[in-house]
């Protein structure tokens, strides 16, 4: 069972990764100048208030003791309480992370729907006008800043045409999807450009490969050649790229969520970093790390299915 041992191997690799992230996030967030008390109390705090709040938050204890408390909380599944919002971190993550996951998933789907057919078309029309137009259009998508695309989409399709809500998240799954369409499209632009370019070159490489020429010589239909030989082989590198891009998408969600007023994990992360809300930053980083690791694992599995040599 090479596949089972492959999965097990990858899962075991996850453990040191997570421990590493645990340490790094604990240290990094404390290396930032300023502390939660400065962030919470702001300019008006008196010395006595600062001392009292530090004591209440346990920030007067040594870093080692604080780290011990943190590790213990991670292993008991209780990630502590948010310093500024005064609610359990797990509750916040449960509220906000699914929103970002849905946004990212929709963005990934839209990017694929835009990129894959056009990549094929561009590759098969290589060097002709259609190829140049498609590549040019995606280049523009790649180079425009996310907040700018977002505002244009909001103004045109939200405020002017009224097809989509102007930001927000709505109630119920259908409304969520409706609200998230424009932000997902915004996020999808740059990803689709990357995928399109990569897939186009991969297809061009495969189309010229000897085994494809051989298949063609055998008289196999073009459709079958495209699906069985070209697509499957061309997809291998694109799937890897796609998996890696999920992490970038989650990062891009921060800006998109702000422009579109989506209450996702990206915004929570930024607010928590500014607020030096250590427990939330730590908890959310761990949750995101697990999410990205699982995505990588799924990507690897899909790649292994496309190309069994990967699992060896």
């Amino acid at each position: 069972m090479p596949l089972a041992s492959f999965i097990l191997r990858r899962l075991l690799q996850l453990i040191p990764t997570l421990i590493f992230i645990l340490i790094v996030v604990f240290v990094l967030v404390r290396l930032l100048p300023g502390d939660p008390t400065s962030a919470i109390l702001g300019d008006r705090a008196l010395d006595a208030d600062v001392e009292r709040i530090n004591r209440e938050l346990g920030l007067d204890r040594s870093l080692l003791v604080q780290f011990g408390v943190f590790v213990e909380s991670v292993f008991t599944g209780d990630l502590g309480r948010s310093i500024s919002l005064k609610v359990p971190v797990t509750e916040l993550i449960a509220q906000r992370l699914p929103i970002t996951m849905l946004l990212t998933a929709m963005a990934a789907l839209i990017a694929l729907v835009m990129a894959v057919p056009l990549a094929f078309w561009a590759a098969l029309q290589r060097g002709r006008a259609a190829d140049a137009v498609i590549r040019g259009a995606f280049q523009i998508g790649l180079s425009m800043p996310v907040f700018y695309i977002g505002l244009i989409l909001l103004t045109v399709f939200g405020a002017k045409l009224g097809w989509f809500p102007v930001g927000g998240y709505g109630d119920g799954f259908i409304e969520h999807v409706h609200h998230l369409f424009l932000p997902a499209l915004t996020l999808a632009f740059s990803l689709s450009a990357i995928i399109m370019r990569n897939l186009r070159s991969a297809i061009i490489g495969v189309v010229d490969a000897e085994y494809v020429q051989f298949a063609r010589a055998k008289g196999i239909s073009s459709r079958l050649i495209l699906l069985r030989h070209v697509l499957r082989n061309a997809l291998i590198s694109t799937v890897a790229l796609f998996g890696l891009s999920i992490g970038t998408l989650l990062g891009g969600a921060v800006i998109t969520e702000t422009v579109f007023a989506v209450p996702g994990a990206g915004r929570l992360m930024v607010d928590s970093i500014y607020g030096r809300d250590y427990p939330v930053v730590q908890g959310l980083t761990i949750a995101l790390a697990v999410l990205v690791s699982v995505t990588f694992l799924l990507t690897d599995l899909f790649q292994a299915w496309l190309d069994p040599r990967v699992a060896r």
Binding site: P33, P36, E56, G158, P165, G167, L268, Y274
Partner: protein
Amino acid sequence: MKLFSITALTAAVLLGSSVSALALERGGVMTYGRYTDSLFLDPVLNDANVDIWILTNIYDTLIAPSKDGLTLEPSLATEWKLNDAGDEVTLKLREGVKFSDGTPMTTDDVVWSLTRAANPENGIWNSLDASINKVTAPDSSTILISLKYPDPTILSALSVFNTAIMPKAAFEAMPGTTDKEKAEAFAQKPIGTGAFMLESWERGATMKLVKNPNYWAMGEDGKPLPYLDGLTFEIIPDDATRILKLQSGDIQGAEFIPFARVAELKADDKLNMELFPSTKVNDIIINVRPMIGDRENPLSDEKVRQAMNYAVNKDAIVQVVTYGVGTPLTSFMATTTPMHSGTTPLFAYDLEKAKALMAESKYPDGFSTSILTLAGNQDELATATALQQMWAAIGIKLEIKQVDNASRTDQYRAGTFDMRAGAWTNDISDASQITSYFAYSPTIDALHSGWKSDEVDGLFVASQKEMDPTKRAEQFARIQDIFNASGPTIPLYETPYPVALSKSVNGFYQIPLGNNVFREAWMAK
């Protein structure tokens, strides 16, 4: 002709009835776009304006600040009296007040709430109530507050959000052992006597408030307040999106409109662009310590600071940063603050005088220094950039350091900054709070600047016990004169609260202290 008369008559009747129908049907659900969410809805333990400015819709205080922020009005107390010695307050409670859960408000709740607010272990606002010695209830409708010393600010303090009345029994029934733990549980679903009550709260997205059916106040039309059936706060951090949502009719109000867009929204015939008078002042805070770390600090030279002040063209900054919405400061406190004094803008622009003062200073050839601005805050960056150019004319090289809030507060508190952009709004209708932070050195070293004036310190202490309003106003006038002439700031401008509302919204206002008042707001149904 007859037909015309009948038509006209019918039209008049219809118009009349529709107008009265409009007047009768005040209500609706209003959605208000906020730039960020509230954090903690406990009146005593909260730390931020995002809570303070909303809390007063859920909780009431015994006394309320007036709409112009200058006087006091009855709220849960219908009358009050401070004795001649100034050390005892007697308040008469309003009859029949109920909390939003239907339980009657009792003297127990009041005694407990005020005692909790004044407890020095609770939160950061208790210093406003430091004079409170003991709160008792001689009978079922009277509250007696005995003070440790005469306190001319005590009545204003009883109008500040942290003295809001909460239900003792419901609070104490919350899970947890400490006051903080109970407050955290209580604030998830707060119960108050305010006009609205919290229905649901999706953090970072929406907060839904609904009408409190037990609310005690009556509106100008003799009908019970609040008029609105519901009030939804939607969190829209991006300014452009918040305005777009207002223009598209998704929301009916939006706070913190950037000054750059005020003129445009004023011209929009579907909107009312409101500029509510505020107590907000904007200035530059200067570290005046002779040494910062092991560096000599040129800003400690008073002549240098005066030169810097004269070299700043405040009118130009008002135009560049606030697009003409702000007005130059006439004192360190805003004109809306009780006992503000001063009629002319401070340090009118005079480059020649600035150059002469620099020549007389210890640094005639100029020097390099720096200013901290909040990363991402365009107003502060624009101000700092303007200052950079203006001070270059007197030989000062200014480095702009953009940092985030926690980093800035850290350097500020440690006294290791050169200068920083500063902004302030009062929490209390009195000059004492701003003065204690700005000028009275024992509080926070006069804005952590290291500035100290024995005369100001003495006057402030005296003003906190002075029961004669005229004498007290004189003391504050003198403090302002001293601080304005030699203090550790570059006074810039005061600004109103820019709020854009749909034309369908009536009766909403924000008081100079910042409180958003929704209880009289309504929309034509």
